[in-house]
Symmetry: C2
Subunit: 543 residues, 2 copies
């Protein structure tokens, strides 16, 4: 595609930009293939705003003829007095307004934004064009591989092996090329187990708890169907996970009813008769459309200007977002309890195994494993449990809370994860090496990015596009010494203990740093953080 085709008006002068925390500015607006660039040269120095078009979720345009009697005036006058306003609603929840002189210019710019912000083809997206001088395409890509992860697991290696059964992604398109499975289960058995699980997502290792040797596995639902089909290999695989211990827990992220209904459409669950060492516990977690609508309602509530306390609290409740946070943390807490306190292994799945499953596994690891609470450890965890484990970022994060296009696959599951991590960081201010700014950055990058990390839906797609060689890696970038500093929590003190979150409703709070980011007082919070930071670094040399 030629981007130029979609840009009828590339430059407009005398545009007025209105944005949070700034007085209105007059300057030049420039539309490029991937950005809106606004420059105000009126002051001593140039002030610029560079907005990734991909970050734009929705626009609203209103065109008006200022004189209001256009039909009576000479057509020569019209362009001069007509003007338009484009309200730009971003995926990072910021709302900008552009007052553009000239009706035609306004409509042209709006049309360019609409087209260019919704490109379908991945290779046309900005990460394939982003070439900053400080980065090289030869820089390392990613933080970890399944191989490295396996090497780090030490004691586990005795009874577990790295399987390459998926090396060409044919067994499970949404899995990485290698996965960790029990030593005694051969490739042939894995192939059969994969055919028995939705999307080929047979049970694989997610986490190994060094303290007691218990594990967290994850998969998709078994395809038992209405006829209660069985798969011996799948049963043996899970039996091998338990390996002598008396039992394991299946944490099913659907309600009992949903799990039973799933059989009608070919899905199912691990019945007691076939998996008699596994105790099934159902914890219903919302996903997909319900979650997306919850986010939309929450963002709508946050922008309510009515100055009515009751109305705000009622809307907040009605959005149910905090209920989803509550359920996610409770379920992760349950998984962590099974592993650490009860001393049993756990298998987590819902239906596809690419959303709530990953959410629960990730949070359980943060609760249990101190290594995942460092900056490097957390980014590695996200890479392993979200990027490599096949969370379909492209589908889930195509649109955000403002879009009118209700696409089928959108869901803020990753945002919900970040919110839950924020709750952890709030409840345990010393336990995480990273702070809110990192979570905010990740929330933004997942929806619109200069980097390739969150592109595509799985490793197979990334591999097909040579993403590693054609884009830069966000996680590597965030760990650069010049960058990482701003994401470090100055209060961090590592602890080996599990951090058990309080899931009392009273303990869970709205993530104001994200959802009310563009209101005034959030700026002041930022100021306080900077103050703490400057005290710690400048005075104590603790960076």
């Amino acid at each position: 595609m030629e981007f130029a085709e979609h840009i009828k008006t590339a430059n407009v002068e005398d545009v007025v930009l209105k944005q949070p925390f700034h007085a209105p500015m007059k300057g030049t607006l420039c539309v490029t293939g991937h950005h809106l660039l606004f420059s105000d040269r009126s002051g001593d120095s140039t002030w610029q705003l560079l907005l990734l078009l991909r970050n734009i979720d929705a626009i609203e345009k209103s065109v008006e003829n200022l004189l209001g009697y256009s039909s009576h005036t000479s057509s020569n006058f019209r362009p001069a007095v007509s003007s338009g306003t484009i309200t730009v609603k971003c995926k990072d929840l910021c709302i900008l307004q552009l007052d553009i002189p000239g009706m035609e210019e306004c409509l042209n710019v709006a049309s360019s934004i609409e087209t260019l912000s919704s490109l379908d083809s991945v290779t046309e997206m900005y990460p394939f064009f982003y070439r900053p001088s400080a980065l090289s395409l030869d820089d390392p890509w990613g933080l970890s591989t399944p191989e490295k992860h396996y090497d780090q697991l030490g004691a586990l290696q005795v009874k577990w092996r790295l399987s390459k059964v998926n090396s060409d992604y044919s067994v499970c398109p949404s899995y990485p090329h290698s996965v960790i499975v029990p030593e005694c289960v051969d490739e042939q058995a894995l192939l059969k187990a994969a055919r028995f699980r939705q999307g080929g997502r047979f049970p694989v290792l997610s986490y190994y708890h060094q303290k007691n040797g218990m594990v967290i596995m994850r998969s998709s639902q078994p395809l038992t169907g209405a006829n209660r089909k069985r798969c011996k290999e799948d049963e043996l695989l899970l039996q091998a996970v338990i390996d002598g211990s008396d039992k394991g827990y299946v944490i099913d992220t659907r309600s009992t009813q949903q799990a039973h209904q799933a059989r009608m459409t070919g899905g199912g669950f691990e019945s007691k008769s076939c998996y008699n060492s596994w105790k099934r516990i159902h914890r219903h977690m919302e996903k997909g459309k319900v979650l997306q609508e919850s986010l939309i309602k929450l963002v709508e509530a946050c922008s309510d200007q009515s100055h009515n306390m009751d109305r705000w609290l009622s809307k907040l409740e009605n959005s149910k977002w905090l209920s989803h946070v509550h359920t996610a943390l409770s379920t992760a807490g349950l998984v962590a309890e099974c592993v650490e306190r009860d001393g049993h292994s756990v298998l987590v799945h819902g239906s596809e195994g690419t959303d709530t499953t990953l959410l629960v596994c990730t949070l359980a690891q943060l609760i249990l494993d101190p290594d995942t609470r460092t900056l490097h450890g957390f980014l590695s965890l996200l890479e392993r449990e979200w990027v490599q484990a096949g969370h379909p970022f492209q589908q889930r994060c195509a649109r955000s809370a403002y879009s009118h296009a209700r696409l089928r696959h959108e869901a803020p599951v990753f945002l919900l994860l970040l919110d839950c991590v924020w709750q952890l960081s709030r409840q345990f201010p010393l336990a995480l090496q990273f702070g809110e700014p990192l979570l905010l950055r990740l929330a933004k990058e997942a929806y619109a990015s200069d980097f390739g990390t969150f592109l595509c839906n799985n490793q197979q797609e990334r591999c097909g596009l040579d993403l590693k060689d054609r884009t830069h890696c966000l996680f590597q970038f965030l760990l650069r010494s010049s960058v990482r500093e701003q994401y470090i929590n100055p209060l961090y003190e590592s602890t080996d203990l599990a951090i058990w979150p309080s899931v009392q409703p009273q303990s869970l709070h709205l993530w104001t740093g994200l959802f009310l980011r563009w209101t005034d007082h959030t700026q002041i919070m930022e100021e306080a953080r900077e103050e703490i930071w400057s005290i710690v670094t400048e005075h104590c040399g603790r960076s």
Copy 2:
């Protein structure tokens, strides 16, 4: 009264104490005239809990005969197996449980608590008995006097004077002995104005804004009654306040309807025809019973254990507490805007002028005046605007959220003030020299204290009891170098600017440090605060 009369059982052994953040402990319970003392000597060192009986808001007792077939057993056995439980609900919202062996002992202890925690006579209260070796009754009492305050006001003195018209408290029992009024209004006029205002609370100076010479006055409602009575002296007094400026604002903390209704019972408002330079603005603020019930509902919501997010948010909304915070901060913001931005003087009153009036005047000063944001300045402000200005602490803070006795005069107005100050400290983390621990301490001291500061309803009563010579002063104590340190905000950086609070509902938060203080995660917050504190003091020598 002899306290001993009310103590039938002074000591009980083998009592089990259950309290938040501690494992149950077994020890000796001792009842004295003013305290419950629990000592656990089982460990290497003695662990003690000393609870002021005055801090107890309500108790619940349940007595049970453990064998359950008492009538069939010999009466000798009964006392040994019967036991009782006393649940102690404190005014600082902490809930303790005492398991007491012996039914009789339990009933005796409960009866002692009930009587001794509800003493009516002020001179029987603990501040009259508190004699720590580190303090002397000769120490200075109080931080400021009306005289000192007047001396500090500099430029104001030209047109204002210190009136001693109330030196024997006969003109206005709830005012201090001296008040600041316009120079040109003589004592005779004040006497007449006082007769025209409820409780004699004629308009007096609350705050002088150095930047532009505007003032905040406060009073009670004018007693116009149904016949629209006038008082020339009151009108001239307010005219003198404006002094050449074009107008002033009356901020009436009642709705227009309430103000009109007040005339039926002898009250009223400043009508446009009689006070034509004053523009009246009504901002309805709840007080009294409504506020008390709001607090009760909020505390009930906070102790809800249902683990249901929707229910919690719904109960929080239903308590309306945050709505009261919202209204208080908005109204104070309005007053501050009139003074600073609009450049006009303001008179604040509702009906009595001892509750919402003081709340609004105090918050407006915190917004406008940097001097009130230091530890010393804030305590002086409270002394001036609450203690000396006649907030009836004894009536308002006799009981708190757990008491079943619904007394007529209880109302958490002072608690609401502290909550609003907490919101300010949250929105402006650098602007206040004191932090949450001070606000928590004050919340506790207002309801039950070793000190005399919050005793009685006004200065006349305090004077009559020689409070100054017979009790110790809390404010002086809090400023001692060994004590003040724990109340200082390590991030404080003074600013001369006004701090305009955001009153968007989304910016106002539940004060978890107070209302959820006895839940787990609050402890972790405390830990973080200590960490920041230790970084700042130990490493940087910034104390």
